[in-house]
Symmetry: D2
Subunit: 133 residues, 4 copies
Protein backbone atom coordinates (compact mmCIF):
# COMPACT_ATOMS: atom_id res chain seq x y z
CA UNK A 1 0.00 0.00 0.00
CA UNK A 2 3.02 2.27 0.38
CA UNK A 3 3.94 3.71 -2.97
CA UNK A 4 7.66 3.60 -3.76
CA UNK A 5 9.68 5.66 -6.16
CA UNK A 6 13.41 5.82 -6.81
CA UNK A 7 15.67 8.76 -7.44
CA UNK A 8 19.40 9.26 -7.81
CA UNK A 9 20.96 12.40 -6.31
CA UNK A 10 22.03 14.92 -8.96
CA UNK A 11 25.22 16.89 -8.56
CA UNK A 12 23.36 20.23 -8.57
CA UNK A 13 21.26 18.97 -5.64
CA UNK A 14 24.34 18.87 -3.40
CA UNK A 15 25.87 21.95 -1.77
CA UNK A 16 29.26 23.19 -0.61
CA UNK A 17 28.91 21.22 2.63
CA UNK A 18 29.43 18.17 0.41
CA UNK A 19 25.99 16.64 0.99
CA UNK A 20 22.46 16.94 -0.41
CA UNK A 21 21.12 20.42 0.30
CA UNK A 22 18.02 20.53 2.52
CA UNK A 23 15.96 22.21 -0.21
CA UNK A 24 16.56 19.25 -2.55
CA UNK A 25 14.60 16.86 -0.33
CA UNK A 26 11.44 18.83 -1.03
CA UNK A 27 12.06 18.26 -4.74
CA UNK A 28 12.17 14.52 -4.13
CA UNK A 29 9.02 14.64 -2.00
CA UNK A 30 7.05 16.62 -4.58
CA UNK A 31 8.11 14.18 -7.27
CA UNK A 32 7.05 11.24 -5.09
CA UNK A 33 3.60 12.75 -4.56
CA UNK A 34 3.24 13.38 -8.29
CA UNK A 35 4.01 9.74 -9.02
CA UNK A 36 1.62 8.64 -6.28
CA UNK A 37 -1.15 10.70 -7.91
CA UNK A 38 -0.35 9.23 -11.31
CA UNK A 39 -0.45 5.68 -10.02
CA UNK A 40 -3.62 6.10 -8.02
CA UNK A 41 -5.67 8.96 -9.42
CA UNK A 42 -4.64 9.23 -13.05
CA UNK A 43 -8.08 9.09 -14.62
CA UNK A 44 -9.53 11.49 -12.13
CA UNK A 45 -7.70 14.50 -13.60
CA UNK A 46 -7.58 15.84 -10.12
CA UNK A 47 -3.89 16.46 -9.67
CA UNK A 48 -4.32 20.10 -10.71
CA UNK A 49 -7.04 20.41 -8.07
CA UNK A 50 -4.79 19.81 -5.09
CA UNK A 51 -2.54 22.32 -3.40
CA UNK A 52 0.04 21.81 -0.67
CA UNK A 53 -0.84 23.58 2.59
CA UNK A 54 2.01 22.47 4.81
CA UNK A 55 5.04 20.23 4.77
CA UNK A 56 7.64 19.09 7.28
CA UNK A 57 10.82 17.12 6.85
CA UNK A 58 13.10 15.59 9.50
CA UNK A 59 16.62 15.10 8.18
CA UNK A 60 17.94 11.92 9.81
CA UNK A 61 21.13 11.18 7.87
CA UNK A 62 23.02 13.01 5.17
CA UNK A 63 22.81 11.88 1.55
CA UNK A 64 25.43 12.40 -1.15
CA UNK A 65 25.96 12.85 -4.87
CA UNK A 66 24.91 9.88 -6.95
CA UNK A 67 23.32 8.07 -4.02
CA UNK A 68 20.19 6.10 -4.85
CA UNK A 69 17.21 6.89 -2.66
CA UNK A 70 13.87 5.16 -2.23
CA UNK A 71 10.95 7.40 -1.30
CA UNK A 72 7.93 5.67 0.25
CA UNK A 73 4.71 7.66 0.14
CA UNK A 74 1.33 6.92 1.65
CA UNK A 75 -1.84 8.58 2.86
CA UNK A 76 -2.05 8.68 6.63
CA UNK A 77 -5.22 10.69 7.24
CA UNK A 78 -8.19 11.98 5.24
CA UNK A 79 -10.32 14.95 6.30
CA UNK A 80 -13.22 16.76 4.65
CA UNK A 81 -11.22 19.16 2.51
CA UNK A 82 -7.72 17.81 2.94
CA UNK A 83 -5.62 14.74 3.51
CA UNK A 84 -2.13 13.97 4.74
CA UNK A 85 0.79 12.29 3.03
CA UNK A 86 3.64 10.65 4.91
CA UNK A 87 7.01 9.96 3.34
CA UNK A 88 10.09 7.98 4.23
CA UNK A 89 13.35 8.40 2.34
CA UNK A 90 15.88 5.57 2.65
CA UNK A 91 19.25 4.77 1.11
CA UNK A 92 18.59 2.09 -1.50
CA UNK A 93 21.74 0.08 -0.79
CA UNK A 94 21.90 0.12 3.03
CA UNK A 95 18.27 0.83 3.94
CA UNK A 96 19.44 3.63 6.27
CA UNK A 97 16.75 6.24 6.97
CA UNK A 98 17.65 9.54 5.35
CA UNK A 99 14.49 11.53 6.07
CA UNK A 100 10.91 11.36 7.27
CA UNK A 101 8.33 13.83 6.04
CA UNK A 102 4.69 14.70 5.82
CA UNK A 103 2.56 17.02 3.70
CA UNK A 104 -0.97 18.36 4.12
CA UNK A 105 -2.80 18.52 0.79
CA UNK A 106 -5.96 20.57 0.29
CA UNK A 107 -8.59 20.14 -2.41
CA UNK A 108 -8.51 23.56 -4.01
CA UNK A 109 -10.65 25.49 -6.46
CA UNK A 110 -8.10 27.63 -8.31
CA UNK A 111 -10.76 29.66 -10.12
CA UNK A 112 -12.41 30.79 -6.88
CA UNK A 113 -9.18 30.53 -4.89
CA UNK A 114 -10.69 28.59 -2.03
CA UNK A 115 -10.62 25.10 -0.61
CA UNK A 116 -13.54 22.73 -1.22
CA UNK A 117 -14.69 19.36 0.10
CA UNK A 118 -12.96 16.45 -1.61
CA UNK A 119 -15.50 14.98 -4.09
CA UNK A 120 -16.87 11.56 -3.19
CA UNK A 121 -15.22 9.65 -6.03
CA UNK A 122 -11.81 11.15 -5.31
CA UNK A 123 -12.23 10.45 -1.60
CA UNK A 124 -12.97 6.81 -2.32
CA UNK A 125 -9.81 6.51 -4.34
CA UNK A 126 -7.78 8.15 -1.58
CA UNK A 127 -9.36 5.92 1.09
CA UNK A 128 -8.23 2.91 -0.91
CA UNK A 129 -4.65 4.10 -0.29
CA UNK A 130 -5.00 4.90 3.40
CA UNK A 131 -2.32 3.34 5.56
CA UNK A 132 -2.89 3.55 9.29
CA UNK A 133 -0.27 1.84 11.35
CA UNK B 1 15.23 41.51 17.34
CA UNK B 2 13.56 39.84 14.37
CA UNK B 3 15.97 39.78 11.47
CA UNK B 4 14.45 40.82 8.15
CA UNK B 5 15.60 40.07 4.65
CA UNK B 6 14.02 40.81 1.27
CA UNK B 7 13.76 38.70 -1.82
CA UNK B 8 12.03 39.02 -5.17
CA UNK B 9 10.50 35.91 -6.71
CA UNK B 10 12.48 34.64 -9.71
CA UNK B 11 10.69 33.24 -12.73
CA UNK B 12 12.33 29.82 -12.35
CA UNK B 13 10.96 29.63 -8.79
CA UNK B 14 7.39 29.53 -10.13
CA UNK B 15 5.75 26.42 -11.59
CA UNK B 16 3.12 25.49 -14.14
CA UNK B 17 0.36 26.18 -11.58
CA UNK B 18 1.30 29.84 -12.09
CA UNK B 19 2.54 30.43 -8.54
CA UNK B 20 5.71 30.00 -6.50
CA UNK B 21 6.53 26.30 -6.23
CA UNK B 22 6.52 24.90 -2.68
CA UNK B 23 10.18 23.89 -2.94
CA UNK B 24 11.20 27.52 -3.58
CA UNK B 25 10.10 28.64 -0.11
CA UNK B 26 12.81 26.49 1.41
CA UNK B 27 15.35 28.35 -0.73
CA UNK B 28 14.13 31.64 0.73
CA UNK B 29 14.23 30.25 4.27
CA UNK B 30 17.77 28.94 3.92
CA UNK B 31 18.90 32.28 2.53
CA UNK B 32 17.22 34.10 5.44
CA UNK B 33 19.04 31.90 7.98
CA UNK B 34 22.35 32.49 6.19
CA UNK B 35 21.85 36.25 6.44
CA UNK B 36 20.83 35.91 10.06
CA UNK B 37 24.07 34.07 10.80
CA UNK B 38 26.09 36.70 8.96
CA UNK B 39 24.48 39.53 10.86
CA UNK B 40 24.77 37.91 14.25
CA UNK B 41 27.57 35.34 14.23
CA UNK B 42 29.95 36.47 11.51
CA UNK B 43 33.16 36.51 13.52
CA UNK B 44 32.41 33.19 15.14
CA UNK B 45 33.05 31.22 11.94
CA UNK B 46 30.45 28.85 13.15
CA UNK B 47 28.06 28.79 10.23
CA UNK B 48 29.75 25.69 8.83
CA UNK B 49 29.28 24.05 12.21
CA UNK B 50 25.50 24.01 12.10
CA UNK B 51 23.29 21.54 10.29
CA UNK B 52 19.56 21.57 9.75
CA UNK B 53 17.76 18.69 11.49
CA UNK B 54 14.15 19.49 10.66
CA UNK B 55 12.05 22.12 8.95
CA UNK B 56 8.36 22.80 8.49
CA UNK B 57 6.55 25.35 6.38
CA UNK B 58 2.85 26.28 6.38
CA UNK B 59 1.81 27.81 3.06
CA UNK B 60 -0.82 30.44 3.87
CA UNK B 61 -1.20 32.35 0.58
CA UNK B 62 0.22 31.87 -2.88
CA UNK B 63 3.04 34.10 -4.13
CA UNK B 64 3.80 34.96 -7.73
CA UNK B 65 6.57 35.89 -10.16
CA UNK B 66 8.31 39.15 -9.37
CA UNK B 67 6.56 39.57 -6.03
CA UNK B 68 8.66 41.11 -3.28
CA UNK B 69 8.73 39.11 -0.07
CA UNK B 70 9.98 39.97 3.40
CA UNK B 71 11.28 37.08 5.47
CA UNK B 72 11.46 37.62 9.23
CA UNK B 73 13.75 35.23 11.10
CA UNK B 74 14.31 34.83 14.81
CA UNK B 75 15.46 32.31 17.39
CA UNK B 76 12.56 30.93 19.39
CA UNK B 77 14.23 28.31 21.57
CA UNK B 78 17.75 27.23 22.54
CA UNK B 79 18.65 23.75 23.79
CA UNK B 80 21.95 22.11 24.68
CA UNK B 81 22.94 20.93 21.23
CA UNK B 82 20.38 22.68 19.07
CA UNK B 83 18.16 25.72 18.71
CA UNK B 84 15.06 26.63 16.76
CA UNK B 85 14.47 29.30 14.14
CA UNK B 86 11.05 30.69 13.34
CA UNK B 87 10.27 32.46 10.07
CA UNK B 88 7.44 34.55 8.70
CA UNK B 89 7.18 35.37 5.00
CA UNK B 90 4.98 38.33 4.06
CA UNK B 91 4.15 40.19 0.87
CA UNK B 92 6.14 43.43 0.99
CA UNK B 93 3.42 45.61 -0.51
CA UNK B 94 0.30 44.33 1.26
CA UNK B 95 1.74 42.71 4.38
CA UNK B 96 -0.29 39.56 3.67
CA UNK B 97 1.14 36.44 5.29
CA UNK B 98 2.51 34.06 2.67
CA UNK B 99 4.09 31.42 4.89
CA UNK B 100 5.13 30.55 8.44
CA UNK B 101 8.02 28.22 9.06
CA UNK B 102 10.45 26.81 11.59
CA UNK B 103 13.76 25.02 11.48
CA UNK B 104 15.67 22.99 14.09
CA UNK B 105 19.41 23.62 13.84
CA UNK B 106 21.96 21.32 15.45
CA UNK B 107 25.56 22.14 16.36
CA UNK B 108 27.39 19.53 14.37
CA UNK B 109 30.91 18.14 14.23
CA UNK B 110 31.33 17.24 10.55
CA UNK B 111 34.66 15.46 11.12
CA UNK B 112 33.19 13.07 13.66
CA UNK B 113 29.71 13.23 12.15
CA UNK B 114 27.91 13.81 15.41
CA UNK B 115 26.14 16.60 17.23
CA UNK B 116 27.86 18.46 20.05
CA UNK B 117 26.89 20.94 22.76
CA UNK B 118 26.75 24.51 21.48
CA UNK B 119 29.94 26.24 22.76
CA UNK B 120 29.39 28.86 25.45
CA UNK B 121 30.40 31.88 23.33
CA UNK B 122 28.14 30.86 20.47
CA UNK B 123 25.28 30.19 22.88
CA UNK B 124 25.63 33.67 24.33
CA UNK B 125 25.41 35.20 20.92
CA UNK B 126 22.33 33.13 20.10
CA UNK B 127 20.70 34.01 23.42
CA UNK B 128 21.10 37.67 22.53
CA UNK B 129 18.81 37.01 19.57
CA UNK B 130 16.19 34.98 21.40
CA UNK B 131 12.61 36.20 20.85
CA UNK B 132 10.00 34.63 23.09
CA UNK B 133 6.54 35.98 22.58
CA UNK C 1 23.11 51.62 -21.49
CA UNK C 2 24.20 48.36 -19.90
CA UNK C 3 21.66 47.30 -17.33
CA UNK C 4 23.15 46.11 -14.03
CA UNK C 5 21.67 43.92 -11.37
CA UNK C 6 23.17 42.45 -8.20
CA UNK C 7 22.82 39.05 -6.66
CA UNK C 8 24.39 37.24 -3.73
CA UNK C 9 25.14 33.53 -4.12
CA UNK C 10 22.78 31.33 -2.09
CA UNK C 11 24.06 28.23 -0.34
CA UNK C 12 21.77 25.94 -2.34
CA UNK C 13 23.29 27.34 -5.55
CA UNK C 14 26.68 25.84 -4.68
CA UNK C 15 27.56 22.17 -5.14
CA UNK C 16 29.80 19.52 -3.59
CA UNK C 17 32.78 20.84 -5.57
CA UNK C 18 32.56 23.82 -3.19
CA UNK C 19 31.69 26.40 -5.85
CA UNK C 20 28.62 27.74 -7.62
CA UNK C 21 27.09 24.99 -9.73
CA UNK C 22 27.00 25.66 -13.48
CA UNK C 23 23.20 25.43 -13.57
CA UNK C 24 22.92 28.32 -11.09
CA UNK C 25 24.42 30.82 -13.52
CA UNK C 26 21.42 30.38 -15.79
CA UNK C 27 19.20 31.34 -12.84
CA UNK C 28 21.15 34.59 -12.46
CA UNK C 29 20.98 35.28 -16.20
CA UNK C 30 17.23 34.72 -16.38
CA UNK C 31 16.73 37.02 -13.40
CA UNK C 32 18.92 39.70 -15.05
CA UNK C 33 16.84 39.55 -18.24
CA UNK C 34 13.63 39.80 -16.23
CA UNK C 35 14.88 42.94 -14.51
CA UNK C 36 16.04 44.35 -17.86
CA UNK C 37 12.52 43.84 -19.25
CA UNK C 38 10.98 45.47 -16.19
CA UNK C 39 13.25 48.51 -16.45
CA UNK C 40 12.83 48.96 -20.17
CA UNK C 41 9.57 47.40 -21.32
CA UNK C 42 7.35 47.41 -18.27
CA UNK C 43 4.34 49.18 -19.77
CA UNK C 44 4.47 47.12 -22.92
CA UNK C 45 3.24 43.96 -21.18
CA UNK C 46 5.36 42.05 -23.57
CA UNK C 47 7.50 39.98 -21.27
CA UNK C 48 5.15 37.04 -21.58
CA UNK C 49 5.46 37.31 -25.34
CA UNK C 50 9.15 36.46 -25.48
CA UNK C 51 10.68 33.01 -25.34
CA UNK C 52 14.31 31.98 -25.07
CA UNK C 53 15.59 30.12 -28.15
CA UNK C 54 19.22 29.62 -27.24
CA UNK C 55 21.71 30.50 -24.53
CA UNK C 56 25.43 30.07 -24.01
CA UNK C 57 27.61 30.71 -20.99
CA UNK C 58 31.40 30.74 -20.71
CA UNK C 59 32.54 30.08 -17.16
CA UNK C 60 35.70 32.14 -16.63
CA UNK C 61 36.27 31.94 -12.86
CA UNK C 62 34.59 30.06 -10.08
CA UNK C 63 32.22 31.84 -7.70
CA UNK C 64 31.44 30.85 -4.11
CA UNK C 65 28.78 30.93 -1.39
CA UNK C 66 27.81 34.41 -0.29
CA UNK C 67 29.80 36.13 -3.04
CA UNK C 68 28.22 39.26 -4.47
CA UNK C 69 27.93 39.27 -8.24
CA UNK C 70 27.07 42.04 -10.69
CA UNK C 71 25.33 40.97 -13.86
CA UNK C 72 25.50 43.40 -16.78
CA UNK C 73 22.88 42.85 -19.49
CA UNK C 74 22.45 44.55 -22.84
CA UNK C 75 20.96 44.03 -26.28
CA UNK C 76 23.64 43.33 -28.87
CA UNK C 77 21.59 42.62 -32.01
CA UNK C 78 17.98 42.94 -33.17
CA UNK C 79 16.47 40.89 -35.99
CA UNK C 80 12.96 40.67 -37.42
CA UNK C 81 11.55 38.10 -35.01
CA UNK C 82 14.30 37.92 -32.42
CA UNK C 83 17.05 39.78 -30.64
CA UNK C 84 20.16 38.92 -28.70
CA UNK C 85 21.12 39.64 -25.12
CA UNK C 86 24.70 39.70 -23.92
CA UNK C 87 25.65 39.30 -20.25
CA UNK C 88 28.74 39.76 -18.17
CA UNK C 89 28.97 38.47 -14.59
CA UNK C 90 31.66 40.00 -12.38
CA UNK C 91 32.68 39.72 -8.74
CA UNK C 92 31.39 42.87 -7.07
CA UNK C 93 34.41 43.35 -4.80
CA UNK C 94 37.31 42.57 -7.14
CA UNK C 95 35.76 43.14 -10.57
CA UNK C 96 37.05 39.73 -11.70
CA UNK C 97 35.10 38.27 -14.63
CA UNK C 98 33.12 35.22 -13.55
CA UNK C 99 31.16 34.49 -16.72
CA UNK C 100 30.16 35.82 -20.14
CA UNK C 101 26.91 34.79 -21.72
CA UNK C 102 24.40 35.44 -24.45
CA UNK C 103 20.79 34.56 -25.11
CA UNK C 104 18.66 34.63 -28.27
CA UNK C 105 15.12 35.78 -27.51
CA UNK C 106 12.23 35.23 -29.94
CA UNK C 107 8.95 37.12 -30.07
CA UNK C 108 6.49 34.28 -29.63
CA UNK C 109 2.77 33.81 -30.03
CA UNK C 110 1.96 31.24 -27.34
CA UNK C 111 -1.63 30.73 -28.57
CA UNK C 112 -0.53 29.76 -32.05
CA UNK C 113 2.82 28.39 -30.87
CA UNK C 114 4.88 30.20 -33.45
CA UNK C 115 7.32 33.10 -33.67
CA UNK C 116 6.15 36.45 -35.01
CA UNK C 117 7.79 39.71 -36.10
CA UNK C 118 8.56 41.98 -33.16
CA UNK C 119 5.87 44.75 -33.18
CA UNK C 120 7.11 48.20 -34.16
CA UNK C 121 6.61 49.82 -30.73
CA UNK C 122 8.45 47.01 -28.94
CA UNK C 123 11.25 47.12 -31.51
CA UNK C 124 11.71 50.86 -30.92
CA UNK C 125 12.03 50.28 -27.21
CA UNK C 126 14.57 47.52 -27.77
CA UNK C 127 16.55 49.65 -30.24
CA UNK C 128 16.84 52.32 -27.59
CA UNK C 129 18.78 49.75 -25.53
CA UNK C 130 21.04 48.47 -28.30
CA UNK C 131 24.72 48.46 -27.38
CA UNK C 132 27.12 47.78 -30.27
CA UNK C 133 30.72 47.94 -29.34
CA UNK D 1 28.44 5.04 -29.04
CA UNK D 2 25.98 7.71 -28.01
CA UNK D 3 25.17 7.38 -24.34
CA UNK D 4 21.47 7.63 -23.52
CA UNK D 5 19.77 8.53 -20.28
CA UNK D 6 16.11 9.09 -19.42
CA UNK D 7 14.48 11.66 -17.24
CA UNK D 8 10.92 12.64 -16.43
CA UNK D 9 10.13 16.35 -16.00
CA UNK D 10 9.45 17.28 -12.38
CA UNK D 11 6.77 19.80 -11.50
CA UNK D 12 9.26 22.18 -9.89
CA UNK D 13 11.22 22.22 -13.17
CA UNK D 14 8.32 23.93 -14.95
CA UNK D 15 7.54 27.64 -14.66
CA UNK D 16 4.56 29.97 -14.82
CA UNK D 17 4.68 29.94 -18.63
CA UNK D 18 3.43 26.36 -18.27
CA UNK D 19 6.51 24.67 -19.75
CA UNK D 20 9.93 23.48 -18.60
CA UNK D 21 12.01 26.47 -17.50
CA UNK D 22 15.18 27.07 -19.52
CA UNK D 23 17.37 26.63 -16.43
CA UNK D 24 16.05 23.09 -15.94
CA UNK D 25 17.61 21.84 -19.17
CA UNK D 26 21.05 22.47 -17.73
CA UNK D 27 20.12 20.21 -14.83
CA UNK D 28 19.28 17.43 -17.29
CA UNK D 29 22.52 18.00 -19.23
CA UNK D 30 24.69 17.91 -16.11
CA UNK D 31 23.00 14.69 -15.01
CA UNK D 32 23.54 13.17 -18.46
CA UNK D 33 27.26 14.00 -18.35
CA UNK D 34 27.52 12.52 -14.85
CA UNK D 35 26.00 9.26 -16.05
CA UNK D 36 28.25 9.28 -19.09
CA UNK D 37 31.28 9.59 -16.81
CA UNK D 38 30.00 6.78 -14.61
CA UNK D 39 29.46 4.45 -17.55
CA UNK D 40 32.76 5.20 -19.23
CA UNK D 41 35.26 6.44 -16.66
CA UNK D 42 34.10 4.98 -13.38
CA UNK D 43 37.33 3.32 -12.32
CA UNK D 44 39.42 6.31 -13.26
CA UNK D 45 38.17 8.41 -10.35
CA UNK D 46 38.56 11.37 -12.59
CA UNK D 47 35.10 12.89 -12.48
CA UNK D 48 36.15 15.31 -9.77
CA UNK D 49 39.05 16.36 -11.98
CA UNK D 50 36.88 17.86 -14.71
CA UNK D 51 35.30 21.30 -14.73
CA UNK D 52 32.83 22.81 -17.17
CA UNK D 53 34.24 25.78 -19.09
CA UNK D 54 31.36 26.60 -21.40
CA UNK D 55 27.92 25.33 -22.35
CA UNK D 56 25.30 26.22 -24.93
CA UNK D 57 21.76 25.00 -25.40
CA UNK D 58 19.38 25.57 -28.32
CA UNK D 59 15.77 25.20 -27.24
CA UNK D 60 13.91 23.68 -30.20
CA UNK D 61 10.52 22.72 -28.74
CA UNK D 62 8.91 23.23 -25.38
CA UNK D 63 8.67 20.37 -22.88
CA UNK D 64 6.06 19.94 -20.16
CA UNK D 65 5.42 18.48 -16.70
CA UNK D 66 5.70 14.73 -16.53
CA UNK D 67 7.06 14.41 -20.06
CA UNK D 68 9.68 11.71 -20.55
CA UNK D 69 12.87 12.90 -22.18
CA UNK D 70 15.81 10.99 -23.64
CA UNK D 71 19.18 12.74 -23.47
CA UNK D 72 21.86 11.48 -25.85
CA UNK D 73 25.41 12.43 -24.91
CA UNK D 74 28.65 11.90 -26.80
CA UNK D 75 32.17 13.26 -27.14
CA UNK D 76 32.60 15.25 -30.33
CA UNK D 77 36.14 16.58 -30.00
CA UNK D 78 39.20 16.02 -27.79
CA UNK D 79 41.95 18.60 -27.28
CA UNK D 80 45.06 18.64 -25.10
CA UNK D 81 43.47 19.96 -21.91
CA UNK D 82 39.79 19.76 -22.78
CA UNK D 83 37.15 17.94 -24.74
CA UNK D 84 33.65 18.66 -25.98
CA UNK D 85 30.37 16.96 -25.22
CA UNK D 86 27.36 17.15 -27.51
CA UNK D 87 23.83 16.46 -26.33
CA UNK D 88 20.44 15.91 -27.93
CA UNK D 89 17.24 15.95 -25.90
CA UNK D 90 14.21 14.28 -27.48
CA UNK D 91 10.67 13.51 -26.40
CA UNK D 92 10.59 9.79 -25.58
CA UNK D 93 7.14 9.14 -27.05
CA UNK D 94 7.23 11.18 -30.29
CA UNK D 95 10.98 11.51 -30.91
CA UNK D 96 10.54 15.27 -31.38
CA UNK D 97 13.74 17.23 -30.78
CA UNK D 98 13.45 19.33 -27.64
CA UNK D 99 16.98 20.72 -27.40
CA UNK D 100 20.53 20.46 -28.73
CA UNK D 101 23.47 21.35 -26.56
CA UNK D 102 27.20 21.21 -26.11
CA UNK D 103 29.65 21.60 -23.24
CA UNK D 104 33.39 22.22 -23.12
CA UNK D 105 35.01 20.25 -20.29
CA UNK D 106 38.49 21.05 -18.99
CA UNK D 107 40.81 18.75 -17.05
CA UNK D 108 41.34 20.79 -13.92
CA UNK D 109 43.69 20.69 -10.96
CA UNK D 110 41.54 22.03 -8.11
CA UNK D 111 44.47 22.24 -5.67
CA UNK D 112 46.47 24.51 -7.96
CA UNK D 113 43.37 25.99 -9.60
CA UNK D 114 44.61 25.55 -13.15
CA UNK D 115 43.92 23.39 -16.17
CA UNK D 116 46.25 20.50 -17.02
CA UNK D 117 46.77 18.15 -19.96
CA UNK D 118 44.38 15.20 -19.89
CA UNK D 119 46.41 12.18 -18.68
CA UNK D 120 47.09 9.54 -21.30
CA UNK D 121 44.93 6.80 -19.76
CA UNK D 122 41.96 9.12 -19.40
CA UNK D 123 42.44 10.39 -22.96
CA UNK D 124 42.35 6.82 -24.28
CA UNK D 125 39.09 6.18 -22.50
CA UNK D 126 37.61 9.39 -23.92
CA UNK D 127 38.84 8.59 -27.43
CA UNK D 128 37.02 5.29 -27.23
CA UNK D 129 33.81 7.32 -26.93
CA UNK D 130 34.52 9.84 -29.68
CA UNK D 131 31.70 10.20 -32.20
CA UNK D 132 32.53 12.22 -35.29
CA UNK D 133 29.75 12.43 -37.79
Amino acid sequence: MKHETDTTVRFCETDAAGHVNNTSYFIYLEEARGRFFQSNLENYQTFGRFIIASTKCDFLSQAYFNQQLIISTWISKIGTKSFQFKHEIKAKDTGVSIAEAEAAIVYFNYEEQKSEPIPEDVRKRLEGQLVTS
